[in-house]
């Protein structure tokens, strides 16, 4: 596979001391990669460095094997979609879309052609003469994406482009972006703090925390095998229990769990709610009491008090909770556990 974008040991520190350090990342051609992390972890800093809006302190950025570090934004083969205020309010949709093409000295007939095609792609045909103020938030962001697409960038950068939209629209936009991506084969770097968004659209996810990368992997891998405690708690729902390693085995009360990383001392176990199994009777397991049963459509969330080991949540299919009730004593076991050193 061709590497379209290569970030090498990128470091950028603001005067305040915040920033990112030692970011290295290779993005394949045609890949949609997501930078995911809590607000302030440095996602925008990385993205703006790629786009040329920020000058890194050190490191290099290569696009199609050429360093772009010296080039200003207008000379880089990138296009950026911002979180909001993307469109130029004093220009019609057509002029917003045509501006970059005119700069590139494209012929008028070709511009008309390209714009009508891209408007069809984003389902806004006929809106050429509207002003941004006459469009909804979602439509504006679609035009912003279209404007970036028209430039045929080597890498498309999107900084939380849908975060200002309501949940339903956000969903639709994700699907649409994914579709555009597979139609155009464009390389995209997508920034979000929303783990669900990241899981749903990405080929790969870059989990960031406090200015560095925690893990780079596919959504499934990040979900199933989070490499760090941070990745484990940031992506998806997760239970955490304290354990201790004795004789090479992770113990909670009398129960042993695999010690896949050969840790020692105090450890933290991470268990997905869907891996928390409930038994009644004599099976081995941690004793607990059901505190709460919440039916959430096709599944139910059951909270169990593990008597001194904290509260744990279990997701169960609905038909399995029919004979459970609050206050009932149960045994709890785990289909799968992850172990991390306690920090």
């Amino acid at each position: 596979m061709d590497i379209q974008l290569s970030i090498q040991k990128l470091t950028k520190r603001y005067k305040t001391g915040d920033g990112v350090s030692d970011i290295s990342l290779d993005v394949q051609k045609g890949e949609l990669i997501t930078l995911l992390g809590p607000s302030g972890c440095g996602k925008t800093t990385v993205l703006r460095s790629i786009g040329g809006f920020l000058e890194p302190d050190s490191g290099d950025i290569l696009i199609e094997n050429k360093s772009v570090l010296k080039a200003p934004p207008e000379k880089r083969p990138t296009a950026m979609v911002f979180q909001s205020y993307n469109l130029w309010p004093h220009m019609t949709v057509f002029d917003n879309l045509a501006f970059g093409l005119k700069i590139r000295k494209m012929k008028k007939s070709e511009i008309d052609q390209a714009i009508s095609e891209v408007l069809k792609l984003i389902r806004l045909s006929g809106s050429e003469q509207k002003f941004p103020g006459q469009l909804s938030g979602g439509q504006q962001q679609r035009v912003a994406v279209a404007r970036a697409l028209l430039l045929k960038p080597a890498v498309l950068l999107l900084d939380e482009p849908f975060s200002a939209l309501d949940a339903k629209l956000r969903h639709e936009m994700r699907e649409e972006l994914r579709e555009i991506q597979s139609n155009t084969g464009l390389t995209m770097v997508f920034v979000t703090h929303d783990q669900e968004e990241a899981l749903s659209i990405s080929d790969r996810i870059v989990v960031m925390n406090k200015g560095h990368i925690e893990q780079v992997a596919s959504p499934q891998e990040i979900y199933d095998e989070p490499k760090t405690l941070f990745a484990a708690q940031f992506i998806g729902k997760m239970n955490f229990l304290k354990g201790v390693v004795t004789n090479g085995r992770v113990m909670i009360a009398q129960l042993a769990f695999p010690n896949s990383k050969n840790l020692s001392g105090n450890v933290t176990l991470a268990i997905r709610p869907e891996d928390v199994q409930l038994f009644d009777g004599e099976e081995a397991g941690l004793p607990g009491t059901i505190k709460h049963i919440m039916v959430l459509g096709h599944y139910a969330e059951v909270s169990i008090d593990l008597q001194g080991h904290g509260i744990i949540r279990s997701f169960r299919p609905r038909d399995q909770v029919n004979d459970l009730r609050t206050g009932q004593h149960v045994k709890v076991n785990f289909a799968k556990t992850l172990v991390f050193p306690t920090v």
Partner: protein
């Protein structure tokens, strides 16, 4: 009474006070001075005062002088203020910090004091002349008691407010608008003319209107440091009224000044409405 009529009456009652104030302090005086300006020497009504305004050589030169001073001042005020505001918006560092601290100062100095200060500085034997003399430059241009003096004073009085106004308009232009323009390939000049200027020209127009009205109606500076002839309309009005005791002619002058301002106001309002139309 239906609810609607009640609400209607309530609405009327609510706007009545402000309408009355407006009527008493704006509409009424204008109407009265208009009536006054139409009164001729024999007590009848005709346009003689206006004819005098536009045929008398001195009056005509006063009008032309006023328009010249006003137009040059307004253009300079806008150019300098806009440059300052743009500079402050898109740069940071020590220079910007200093401009930020200093540019409002003229607003806090009373007009008379500032005017005397300018006379001290730029007068025939003022500070500037004396300092230049030390460097062997003996001829100092006539600034005070000349059009230049009035224009400089107008700059001093108007730049702070206009800069503030434009500064707030410029800070309302989101960074992402400018960055996305850069992103699609626009250079500095295009960014200025295609984005910054169109997004702030309305405020530029507001600034122009304020500056125009302020300058055309100014009195202190033209009175203290303007030439004896020709005069700005404000000074001329005072003379016609106070020295020559020609109330009717003074009223005609006042009404004419009001008309000039109205023209400016008309263009201003027309632009505002035109833009609303596009957006809606």
């Amino acid at each position: 009474m239906s609810k609607q009529t009640k609400m209607g009456i309530l609405g009327l009652l609510l706007v009545l006070p402000s309408f009355l104030v407006l009527f008493v302090i704006v509409v009424l005086p204008i109407a009265l001075s208009f009536k006054e300006s139409l009164t001729n020497a024999s007590g009848g009504y005709d346009l003689s005062n206006y004819i005098y305004l536009f045929t008398n050589k001195l009056m005509r030169s006063n009008i032309i002088f006023t328009l010249e001073v006003t137009i040059i001042s307004v253009l300079l005020i806008l150019a300098i203020s806009y440059a300052l505001a743009v500079y402050m918006r898109f740069n940071n560092g020590a220079v910007v910090q200093w401009i930020r601290r200093l540019y409002m100062i003229p607003m806090f100095i009373p007009g008379v004091i500032a005017t005397y200060g300018l006379i001290q500085l730029l007068g025939n034997h003022g500070w500037a002349a004396r300092i230049l003399y030390q460097f062997g430059i003996e001829s100092f241009p006539r600034i005070i008691f000349d059009m230049k003096g009035i224009i400089i004073a107008n700059l001093w009085f108007n730049i702070p407010f206009t800069t503030m106004l434009l500064g707030s308009a410029l800070s309302a232009v989101p960074n992402s608008v400018i960055e996305s323009a850069k992103d699609v390939g626009a250079g500095t000049i295009q960014i200025f003319f295609k984005f910054i200027l169109p997004l702030t020209y309305k405020t530029l127009l507001v600034g122009a209107t304020f500056a125009f009205m302020g300058v055309i109606g100014s009195f202190t500076a033209p009175f203290l440091l303007g030439p004896n002839a020709p005069q700005m309309l404000g000074v001329s009005m005072e003379q016609v009224f106070g020295v020559f005791q020609q109330k009717q002619l003074a009223a005609a002058l006042a009404f004419f000044t009001f008309l000039l301002c109205s023209i400016m106001g008309f263009f201003y309002i027309r632009e505002m409405i035109k833009d609303e139309g596009v957006k809606a």
